[in-house]
Symmetry: D2
Subunit: 398 residues, 4 copies
């Protein structure tokens, strides 16, 4: 295990969360430099986390000799310039989500890190929550059979900083902010090797006085017939709703990452402290998580990133994954306008080209396929069968 | 309260459930005649429920002088002929869901009952579950503000009888079987006065060896900007998944009708009895409901139907509602093929013609609109504001 | 089914709930007379529920010729006089919980109804909740094997009426008010035939400025070795907490009757209506039940009572059960003072006299009993075995 | 942060879990020596976790120059000898739960580490689960007001190794194995400064063919009137049931650490891997946790231990806490036999000597105390008040 020396670009909400993960739990890696556009923010972060160097000069941060890894925790519109600087300096690069404001920006970043041949990780934390890792492992172990459908939902009452609300700076609204999580979560269950073919998307501005969408729903169709569904919103009331569902031929998974995790507090008087991200109330029934940094995947994400660096392997999430996600988002925005299904344009596709589809037939006996078997209220067991030759469907009491 | 005298058309799974509701809990109404195409079924139902008359002659059933109300619990393709017979006989008519196999059939039934001027109810039980009634009341009381989004999900491992699996007899697959519930649930939250404008729908046959869809997802856009989302499947594993979610400007509702209702049983040895509709396992962790008939809405549905008859009012659900649902389903099938949004064709529209849309602005002060306020991890409170004149979005520490 | 003609004694909170059950859902039985000590209350109840006769004269109520059944929904100290009057009038008697303020009062009531040989039911509603009925049925079907332990918890922020808070009028505090439910719920799972032997009980007045206990915990030991645990309080914050747990040799049951039943509402603005019994908040996350009357067991309780009258059988809950419950409560109060286990004194015991106890041995093979088998983290399966001769306990990898 | 050099005594189930925590997530501390009585176990652990030295000689392990901290993960009867050896070697000592088989052993260990003046931590992991830390923080922030009651439940189908089942080697049965967790969890909520006064305990051997108890329930009364309740069993079916509940004057906390944490998997086919500690089934509905090591508190426990070493402070849990827990357990065993409340004997008490008790009075106005206020079904608000002078309790409509 090699102790990594990190420059953190960005000292705001997300940078702060990242540092709390990196410096927590007796971890060996250290943030040696923190950069922010604002001197006050940089100084405050350095003080809080005992970081030796702070700066408002990004180039100085990435070229610091006491830095081997650059973590980009900046607003979306600053990812590309930061990646350029750090890549030129030959530093390993970890970039927060979404990679770009669109696929073209993402591809440019991917090209840069591949040209400079440097380690690159895409900081898609929600793929790394302990629950998601466990669930993905179960799917890989075959517990669900083939995955048919994934629902990923991320909604809350809106982001923390002004730039999110400006579509030019961020690249869009709730889709680019939250949909990027949902899309990659679904890909991780369905299989990253499976090509996303086309999307249909509804997006609207229902509540907030902004140009971009504050609510959207999208469907992504994959080459193996699986369907991914994302639901994103900045209008949700009640906290931060992070839930995923996976349906397979042989099973089902339901995950709740934030609002119902086995900790329930009723308080008539409240408490003074910060309770949880996007919490809306301070009294009544409250549902915090135990350890936000862990529950949101930061611990396992950085572990995978640095362990992969040590071992010379790719992490679970690379810039290529960020690029695929941006390409799907681009298609979603197109569909929201065209009001029809739109193809996902991937100039670079590194997965399988295979397309397969359609039902899997289960033999009942020589004559019939089995469609279904169920125990009925008064004790009988009913079979629904399909004649292999005639195609006729019949029912039968077992 | 007038004791109603009922002819039950259909003695299968659904008819049996209906009779158990009608004859349960010391209710005053009675099934006096039961009809089934099959003599064995009719006879068995009569025996089980102590019904004086059984018959395989539908006309005999509906014209029986000891009958004032006909309940149609027949396969979809038999609704129209049954409605014709009963309407001609001048009997009150309660028809199971979906009303027709398509809007044209539904409209024909609506025309008939209106021509004969007889009481008609649409047996959409899931709008009548105690939880749904409570939740709709909360919405009407303003607890959520304007409704923005409704998700209704009904999935299970597939229906009980052969005819469901034959698209010609049933009118389709999972959409017509299950989507009809979801669509009407969403309408009930959004407001039945609000016109459904257009739909987009994905449908596929992923698992079962049939022609019709075994899995579908649809979005229905309403004239006030609200969006309804349905998820239906015959491929779900783990029981019967009936969940609804409602998002409003001021609140959220989450309902779970079947698999997580506060009763959890672990058994290493199982039990011999019928446990719950579509239960898949007999050992391990099981999640039955306490009283299926009540939980699925049958008690409150029949109470509303007969109380409405007594008082001379329309019930919550009439043939007109069934017709609207069929019209939305028709548009879904069209969209699943055309791969774009399709308008909902309603030759008869009895609600509001108004369309309104877009965000509601909240004043912060003279200069700004309030977009958002949130407590941050280190204790500060952050505001996101929009300048009323320039439109610029800024952030501010409170 | 015979239509019953009811006199309701008591028009307060519980009487109102009872009438709403009796007159709801098109039930055939009717309250013809309502009595209350207060004219205003009697009149209001009569108006609200369309009851032809109201009176402040209890004798008049029970002797009304249009009455065949008397329901006693009065404060505890009035049960005995009411039972005397109604028994003398020869009317069937249904009495709310607890039967008496103590076992001696309860026994007197039991003696009276048996002397007059009239139908008597004990209105222990929480044994009749749909979930409890389902769970008891599962236990009877063998899903849990022998029952080892039952926890029943009923806590809330305190009762509605002044007399509850006066130990002389009510017979005690939270134990007599709430423990009566818990004790009978546990008996129903363990088996009513099994004798309750002895109890240990902690009781204290932690919060409320009263003489009686506002919080208590008790253990009841049964002749078959099973243990019942009750937790009652008038100091609970967060609503009404009604939960039961059952542990058997082969399985487990968890029931939540009120605060987590699959309906979750977040509202930032609240609503004006009554939401649920003992609800403490009107905004934030709320957890009402769909249909309180049904969820609390009133529907199924009255159905059992009147169906039993019709069929000439005893209902599930009779005065004898009320007497046993009071005897257990008496022992609890004694133990709370003596600080040791106290025997349950039952002058009348109508169940089994058998006592049995101790572990059941499971053969592993000729040499060993099986204590336990478990899959370990790195894939091995470990057995814990006991030598039948030597008694030595060993472990073994399977 | 100083990198700690650890000798792990014990390479079985618990040692393995500890090492997986210590070597996980890029932590800086390292296990340099692993000891086990069994050469095979020691060798296997060394291989699996890349530990340079393994040995079956305990003295060699603790005196190894590459060791500054000794972690005792041995069976209960070996704690005392191990502590002696390590203390003589002057190494920091972290000992798994329970500290001793009884208070006398625990006190001996406490005396030793205090005599040698070495750092000592008590590895009570369940006080360190992320949820528990969050909940304790909320209690300390005043969200619940004064704590009145704590329930802590730990039940599962029985421990992994043979020695647990031998009362002489382990010190008892389920109480000493599991009750130690529950007792310390409750102390942590109530306040470690508050003296535990007396206990009452029921214990029985209901299922397993052993001498010691396989099921027990205990109540611990504290000097401030708070009551702690533990429920422990080796007979639970359905997995590992770890739940805590806290009731305060102003609020309530419910924690579920294991079986319902927001991850639900249904699988008809199962999977081959280890799913969760004490999981009983491999198909049907399963409820694993995402990251067991984190969910069970190991991460935060070791972080606190080593951070405290670094800063020269006591950790949250020391040998003194282990001693108090053992003293409470001793009283429980005594009470289980004597069948009455037994005092907790603490030769060393380092907390407050204060005893206080009884209800806190809330003014309503000059004349009355407020007992309760509640919204009733038909909209009125009812007050229960107590006259300050006469003590009479009245009700009033607001």
């Amino acid at each position: 295990m090699k102790n990594r020396k990190i420059a953190m670009l960005g000292g705001g909400f997300i940078g702060d969360f990242y540092i709390s993960a990196l410096h927590g739990q007796r971890r060996t890696d250290r943030v040696n430099v923190v950069y922010s556009r604002s001197e006050a923010t940089a100084r405050k972060a350095a003080d809080r986390w005992n970081i030796p160097v702070w700066t408002t000069d990004m180039k100085k941060a990435v070229t610091d000799p006491n830095v081997d890894t650059v973590v980009v925790a900046l607003p979306n519109f600053e990812h590309l310039p930061a990646v350029k600087l750090a890549a030129e300096a030959g530093k390993a690069l970890l970039v927060t989500k979404p990679l770009g404001r669109n696929a073209s920006e993402a591809k440019e970043m991917l090209d840069i890190v591949e040209k400079y041949d440097i380690f690159h990780g895409y900081l898609e934390d929600l793929v790394y929550t302990p629950k998601t890792l466990k669930a993905i492992a179960s799917v890989k172990n075959g517990a669900l059979g083939n995955v048919l459908w994934v629902r990923s939902r991320e909604t809350h009452p809106g982001p923390h900083s002004d730039w999110f609300w400006n579509a030019e700076l961020s690249g869009g609204g709730a889709i680019v902010d939250l949909g990027c999580h949902c899309i990659e979560i679904a890909r991780s269950y369905i299989g990253k090797d499976i090509r996303p073919l086309e999307v249909v998307c509804w997006a609207d501005t229902q509540v907030k006085p902004i140009e971009a969408e504050d609510h959207a729903i999208g469907l992504v169709k994959y080459a193996n017939g699986a369907i991914a569904q994302f639901e994103v919103s900045w209008c949700f009331r009640g906290g931060m709703d992070l839930r995923d569902e996976v349906m397979g031929v042989e099973g089902t998974i339901l995950l709740n990452h934030f609002l119902r995790t086995g900790i329930e507090i009723f308080t008539a008087v409240g408490e003074s402290d910060y309770l949880a991200e996007k919490a809306e109330t301070a009294t009544g029934w409250l549902f915090p998580v135990g350890d936000e940094v862990n529950a949101l995947g930061y611990d396992h994400m950085f572990t995978d990133m640095f362990d992969s660096m040590d071992s010379g392997n790719d992490p679970k999430e690379t810039f290529y994954d960020g690029y695929v996600v941006n390409a799907i988002i681009d298609a979603c925005y197109k569909s929201a306008k065209s009001k029809k299904w739109e193809p996902v344009k991937l100039d670079i596709w590194r997965g399988s080209e295979e397309e397969k589809h359609g039902p899997v037939l289960k033999d009942f006996d020589d004559r019939y396929y089995l469609i279904k078997e169920e125990k009925m209220p008064h004790g009988t067991v009913k079979l629904i069968l399909k004649d292999k030759k005639t195609g006729k469907i019949i029912q039968k009491i077992k």
